[in-house]
C-alpha cells in the first residue's frame, strides 16, 4: 500500500507483519490511558487490546468516557498519561505524523459530518484525491464500489441535505473506507437515527466486519453487540469495569455495576 509518510519502511513492514490475523501483537493497544479536561478526569486508567479482524463494542452509561476514548485512539483528543499504539504508531508521541496515523484509522461520527456542498460521490472521493493524490479515474471507480457496498447505488449525485440520516451515515462510512484504513472507529453512529434507519446502518457495519475489518464501536445497540462483537467492554466512571465475549457477558455478567446497567437497557 503506498503510504508516503514519515515512518520508515522497516517499521511499517514490521507493524504489518506483526498485526497479521491471529498474531500475538494487537493492532490497537491502550495501556493505562488517562485523560482529563481541565481538572475533570474523564478516563482514569484504561487498558485494552484489539487484534486485527476483531470487532469490539464499548458500552456504558453516558459520561463514562466512551466517546472520549474513541477520539483519543485516532488522536483527535490528546491524552495526559499512558500509551496508545495503533498499527505500530504511538499516538501519544508528540512527533507523530498525525496524517499518517489517520490514514490507518477511519472514524465515523454520530452526526455524520458530511460536507454539504459536495455530492455523496464527491464526499467519498475528496480525501483520496486531495490527500493521497491518487489518480482520479481510480479514485472514482473505488468510490462507486464503496457506495455500492453500502447499498446506495443511484445516490451518488445526491447532496447530503437530500439524503436521510441513515443514508448520510452510510455515505460517511464509505467516505472513511475510501482511505483504506486498518481500523474503523464508530462513535455512537446510530444514536441520532430513527429505528428503521438504525437497521440499515448496522447491516452495513456487519458486512464490513464480516469482510475482516477491525472495528471498535461505541454503541447502545445491545442486540448488535451480542450478534457481531468478538469482545464487549463495559465502561463506567472512566474505567473498564468488565469485558468478555458477548455470550458470557450478556447472560452472566460478574460485576454488579455491569448487571445493573444491563438490566436497565435490556
Amino acid at each position: 500500500m503506498p503510504s508516503p509518510d514519515n515512518a520508515s519502511p522497516a517499521a511499517s513492514a514490521t507493524s504489518r507483519a506483526a498485526a497479521a490475523p491471529g498474531s500475538a501483537v494487537p493492532i490497537v493497544s491502550l495501556r493505562d490511558v488517562h485523560k482529563s479536561f481541565g481538572t475533570f478526569q474523564v478516563i482514569k486508567g484504561v487498558s485494552m487490546d484489539v487484534r486485527r479482524g476483531e470487532v469490539v463494542c464499548i458500552i456504558g452509561p453516558s459520561g463514562s468516557g466512551k466517546s472520549t476514548l474513541i477520539r483519543c485512539i485516532n488522536g483527535l483528543t490528546p491524552i495526559q498519561q499512558g500509551s496508545i499504539k495503533v498499527a505500530g504508531r504511538e499516538v501519544n508521541d508528540p512527533k507523530l505524523d498525525k496524517l499518517a496515523l489517520r490514514r490507518e484509522v477511519g472514524i465515523v461520527f454520530q452526526q455524520y459530518n458530511l460536507f454539504p456542498h459536495k455530492t455523496a460521490l464527491e464526499n467519498v472521493m475528496m480525501a483520496p484525491l486531495k490527500v493521497l493524490r491518487e489518480p482520479r479515474a481510480e479514485v472514482e471507480q473505488r468510490a462507486r464500489e464503496l457506495i455500492a457496498k453500502v447499498r446506495l447505488t443511484g445516490k451518488e449525485d445526491a447532496y447530503p441535505g437530500q439524503l436521510s440520516g441513515g443514508q448520510q451515515q452510510r455515505v460517511a462510512i464509505a467516505r472513511s473506507l475510501a482511505m483504506r484504513p486498518e481500523v474503523m472507529l464508530f462513535d455512537e453512529v446510530t444514536a441520532a437515527l430513527d429505528p428503521e434507519t438504525v437497521k440499515e446502518v448496522l447491516v452495513t457495519i456487519k458486512a464490513l466486519a464480516a469482510d475482516g475489518m477491525t472495528c471498535i464501536l461505541v454503541t447502545h445497540e445491545m442486540g448488535f453487540a451480542r450478534e457481531v462483537a468478538d469482545c464487549v467492554y463495559f465502561t463506567d466512571g472512566g474505567l473498564i469495569v468488565e469485558s468478555g465475549p458477548p455470550g458470557a457477558f450478556f447472560s452472566g455478567a460478574k460485576d454488579p455495576r455491569t448487571r445493573q446497567f444491563l438490566s436497565q437497557v435490556l
Partner: protein, 248 residues
C-alpha cells in the same frame, strides 16, 4: 440608440412639456452615458475593493497576534461609527493634500484622481462591514465538520481551502448581499468630491436646462435599476451556491 429614442422624447416635450433632454440631444446624451459609465465603474470597483478588504481582514482577525487583531478591530470601529461623507472628504481633501502632483506641462494634476479617492474611501468603508460578515461566516462553519476533515487527513490548509472557505462563503452570502447593495447606494455620495458620476452629471444637466423633476426621476430610476441588477445577480449567486437540501 439616440436615433431611436429622440423622436419619442422630442414629441413628449412638445406635447406635455416633460423635458427629457438627455434622450434627444446628442451632447446631453453623451453626458448621460459618461455619467452612467463612471457610476457603474465606481460601484464595481468599490464593491470589489470592499470584498478584498473583507476577506483579508477576516483572515487577519483569526491570527494569533493580538496586535494585528487590535488593529483590524480599530479599523472596523473607526469606519463603522463615522459618517461616510466625512470619510470621503477626509480622504480627498485631507489626505489628497499630501499626494504628489504630476506636471502635465502647464498645470499639475494630482496623482490620485477624485474617482480613485472615491473608490478607496468607499471600498474601505464597505470593507469594515464585510470583515465582520466574513468573520461571522467563518465562525459559523460547524466545528464538527472541521473534525471530520481532520480525521480524513486533510492538512490545516486543505481543510481551510476545501471545507471552511466554501462553507463560510455560502453562509455569509445573504448578509453580504445586503451590505453590497447598501454600498452601491452609498456610492452616490461621491457627488461631494465632484466625481462625475450620475448624480453630478444629472445635477449639471438640470441646472443647465431647468428640468429638475424629470432629471430627478431619471436619477431615481437609475439607482433603483442599479440596486435591482446587483440584487438580482447576488440572489442568482445565492441560489446557485445554495446547499441543496438545506433550503429555507
Amino acid at each position: 440608440m439616440l436615433d431611436l429614442l429622440a423622436p419619442f422624447f422630442k414629441d413628449l416635450y412638445a406635447r406635455t412639456g416633460l423635458n427629457f433632454i438627455v434622450f434627444y440631444d446628442p451632447y446631453e446624451f453623451g453626458r448621460l452615458l459618461n455619467g452612467a459609465a463612471i457610476s457603474a465603474q465606481l460601484i464595481v470597483w468599490s464593491l470589489l475593493l470592499s470584498l478584498v478588504i473583507g476577506i483579508v481582514g477576516a483572515w487577519v482577525q483569526s491570527s494569533q497576534s493580538a496586535v494585528l487583531r487590535g488593529v483590524v478591530n480599530a479599523y472596523i470601529q473607526a469606519f463603522r461609527n463615522t459618517p461616510p461623507m466625512i470619510q470621503l472628504l477626509f480622504f480627498y481633501f485631507g489626505l489628497g493634500a499630501f499626494t504628489p502632483t504630476v506636471d502635465m506641462g502647464g498645470y499639475s494634476q494630482p496623482l490620485i484622481s477624485s474617482f480613485t479617492w472615491a473608490v478607496l474611501s468607499l471600498g474601505i468603508f464597505g470593507g469594515a462591514f464585510n470583515v465582520e460578515i466574513f468573520r461571522a461566516g467563518l465562525q459559523a462553519v460547524p466545528h464538527a465538520m472541521l473534525e471530520a476533515a481532520e480525521s480524513l487527513c486533510f492538512s490545516r490548509w486543505q481543510t481551510y481551502r476545501y471545507v471552511t472557505l466554501p462553507l463560510a462563503f455560502r453562509i455569509s452570502l445573504p448578509a453580504l448581499t445586503n451590505n453590497l447593495i447598501s454600498l452601491a447606494k452609498t456610492s452616490s455620495l461621491a457627488y461631494v468630491i465632484s466625481v462625475p458620476e450620475m448624480t453630478y452629471v444629472l445635477s449639471q444637466v438640470w441646472s443647465d436646462n431647468i428640468n429638475v423633476p424629470e432629471m430627478m426621476l431619471l436619477l431615481f430610476a437609475f439607482y433603483l435599476a442599479a440596486v435591482w441588477i446587483i440584487g438580482a445577480m447576488l440572489h442568482w449567486l445565492e441560489r446557485r451556491l445554495a446547499l441543496p437540501g438545506y433550503g429555507q
